[in-house]
């Protein structure tokens, strides 16, 4: 019986991570090609995707490594690009509470894409939740490592015009956004369940525009503050909506 549950969990994790497989393969290839074009061998792509395992940060890191920046600038840059990950953990404290030995890896492997799946998925009764989260995280990283290494090999061996391949990351999030929008609304194109998505999109857009005008580069920080404040203020409205979800 126990073995049956395990294989069910693995199958389910494979099925649910398929969109991420697609996104990570394209995105990883994009990163690998960029790294190779910057002059780094394929093994650097392997080292980075095993240890950092951070989509957009690895893209930024290509620049940092190629310019051999100081440790101080690397710390600051990582902090600014990845500070959003603090948000993710907050949503998953309860989900990951009983993960036991898996927790260290779950925290390490909490990327944008893994978060977007784990935070919204409904795990079926006959699947072990903690193992499911673990396999989702593990498979995602394996896809990512494969993509990065394939890309680095391509970039080092095959000459082709890769301009624009970094758009894979944009396409991935637009796709996830569209997917969440459609499933939150059911048949409705716009309803109360879209408030949170609108807050996130709107606040970041406003912050981007204002920061551009003021010449302040790190618009994600004010955006996150606005999102936090707006969601706290909207609590009376959104908490009722959440009860509607629960039936």
């Amino acid at each position: 019986m126990k073995k049956g549950k395990m294989s069910k969990t693995i199958r389910r994790a494979l099925r649910d991570t398929f969109p991420i497989f697609a996104g990570y393969l394209v995105l990883g290839i994009g990163f690998g090609v960029m790294l190779a074009k910057a002059g780094f061998g394929t093994y650097w792509a392997a080292i980075m995707s095993c240890t950092m395992y951070a989509g957009s940060m690895q893209y930024v890191a290509v620049d940092l490594l190629a310019n051999a920046v100081t440790v101080g600038s690397a710390v600051l840059m990582t902090f600014l690009v990845n500070i959003r990950h603090v948000f993710y953990g907050v949503s998953l404290i309860d989900k990951y509470r009983y993960a036991g030995w898996r927790k260290l890896y779950l925290m390490f492997a909490l990327t944008d894409e893994t978060y977007s799946l784990v935070s919204t998925v409904e795990v079926p009764e006959d699947v072990d939740k903690n193992n499911y989260y673990f396999f989702v995280s593990l498979f995602d990283q394996l896809y990512w490592i494969c993509g990065c290494c394939i890309g680095a090999l391509m970039g080092n061996l095959v000459p082709f015009n890769s301009a624009g391949i970094e758009y894979a990351m944009t396409a991935l999030f637009v796709c996830i956004f569209a997917d969440q929008w459609l499933s939150a609304g059911g048949k409705k194109l716009l309803c109360g369940k879209h408030i949170s998505a609108i807050v996130g999109f709107g606040a970041t857009l406003v912050s981007l525009i204002v920061c551009n005008v003021l010449g302040f580069e790190y618009f994600l920080i004010p955006a996150m503050v606005i999102i936090l404040v707006a969601l706290i203020l909207l609590r009376p409205v959104l908490d009722r909506k959440e009860e509607d979800y629960a039936e």
Partner: protein
């Protein structure tokens, strides 16, 4: 490897980036590891996911130069392709792959500067 770069320094930078990334991801779990998570934090955890995805969409577009129509028109067309394909087929591989390829073709052949 580029000529201005050494392997030890590269390894050091990779280690620094990896450690900071891990600390940021682990912080909330360590901060709230006690038995009970405050209600407000649990509420935020519940309503934040769609907001964060919305934020990431804008973040992805932020590197595009919106003062140059040759830069942003292809990005918007490709995003529209992703959305329409996804409404139609609901197949992520197709939506992401087609959107990326469309963008590459647009900037390399149609909107080249």
């Amino acid at each position: 490897m580029p000529s201005n770069v050494t392997a030890p320094h590269t390894l050091l930078l990779i280690a620094v980036i990896a450690i900071i990334s891990f600390i940021l991801r682990a912080a909330p779990f360590i901060l709230f590891r006690g038995g009970h998570t405050p209600a407000i934090v649990r509420y935020l955890g519940r309503v934040m996911p769609p907001a964060v995805i919305g934020m990431l969409v804008v973040y992805c577009f932020s590197s595009i130069d919106f003062t140059d129509w040759r830069a942003f028109v292809p990005a918007l067309i490709a995003a529209l392709i992703v959305i329409l394909l996804h409404i139609w087929k609901k197949n992520s591989l197709l939506s992401i792959g087609a959107g990326t390829v469309a963008y590459m073709l647009l900037i390399q052949f149609v909107f080249k500067g």
